[in-house]
Amino acid sequence: MLRRILKAQNLMDCACRKLGRQLNIMEVCGTHTVSIFRNGIRPTLPKSLKLLSGPGCPVCVTDQGYIDVTVELAKRDDVILATYGDMIRVPGKSGSLEQLNRSNVKVVMSSDEALNLARENKDKTVVFVAVGFETTTPATAVAVGQAADENLENFTVLSGHKLVIPAMKALLTDKNNKIDAFLCPGHVSVIIGSDAYKTVLDDFDVPCVVAGFEPMQVIEGIGEICRQIYKDDIKVESIYHAAVKPEGNPTAQKIIDQYFEAFDGPWRGLGNIPGGTLRLKEEYAQFDAFKRFGIDQVPTEELNGCKCGEVLCGLIDPPQCPKFENTCTPDTPIGPCMVSSEGACSAWYKYGRRRRRRRKQA
């Protein structure tokens, strides 16, 4: 293993020397962010190699307006709001779902559990707070299919699902972007396949390397990016062979396509991304919570002073936000990047604090 680490580090040094300036690699996925901090990878990198934490945490990129809609729906007595756990603490303009403290907000671990709530509570409408990228979307799609088969009229989906590749392109289109390469998300790639990044390569000519989440995968992924830069051999590569195929999971892709269609929609920090979000197709409109409750559009108001948007674009590191560690902590989060366990602010706070504590003890 040591030999593999040294090889990757050598490639990093070579690429940084060749570039003659700071090399910025964005890890798109929040699980990579956590793995990088948890395994102490950052301090082992050359000084001129910088990792940027990208928009790969579904909770973090969920637009402020969407949170506000969930809070408003949760106030209705005729609704049961079924949500993944991370969402309940994200503050909207009038507080979070957790602060509402209502018994009709139910935390679920899967879309199946949301379906069960609908089956067991026929007098209420279940709204499934469906966030996540291509990894989570098939689970929502299967639930919609099942609700249609069972004619489960009281099951609805508030789709906040997003597509990763349009977001990567939007980031690179921004003239202020500092991104030289992407460490592509492992589990999204299980679904979409590594070949899906070829469109990013075609349009922008940056290395796109898929890696898993174990420390060696992350280090070797960064090493492969550096090899490509050093050898001037820019391409799409996957080193997560155990789970990711070039073509991805065709069954999952087909299920997504059957129920969802891409449309232009808001991402926190990145604004409106063309084709960057998913909504239910017209033939499944009866399961669309936006339509069922007459929510025409989602307003997009950011909370005052929260810099999560700039963090997600890799423009600033979390400590550069004036609220970081000051008024914004995991116990009193102001923005979603501090709420989610996969958020960049939460990772910087948690692992930075440990380092500081260790330093104090020593």
Partner: protein, 80 residues
């Protein structure tokens, strides 16, 4: 949110399975991987098997999780 955990299919009927991950048993849907068999190792995300894995990869990841649990007092991996 993106966390996926390796597990081994121990019971399977249609697209509903019971999977075992380090002694924890979960109900898992196998709709996204049609050809699974009992004994297969899979990656489970939000209640769905999303990919097959070989046994070696699964066991390596379990070992890593055990290591993290051992050393990480604040381990918080329960999310969507």
């Amino acid at each position: 949110m993106c966390l996926a955990v390796p597990a081994r299919i121990i019971e399977l009927e249609d697209d509903k399975a019971v999977a075992d991950a380090m002694g924890n048993k979960w109900n898992v849907r196998t709709t996204l991987i049609p050809d699974l068999k009992v004994g297969d190792f899979v990656l489970v995300h939000a209640g769905f098997a999303i990919s097959t894995l070989d046994e070696k990869e699964a066991r390596e990841t379990w070992d890593l999780f055990k290591e993290i649990e051992e050393f990480d007092d604040n381990s918080n991996r329960v999310s969507g």
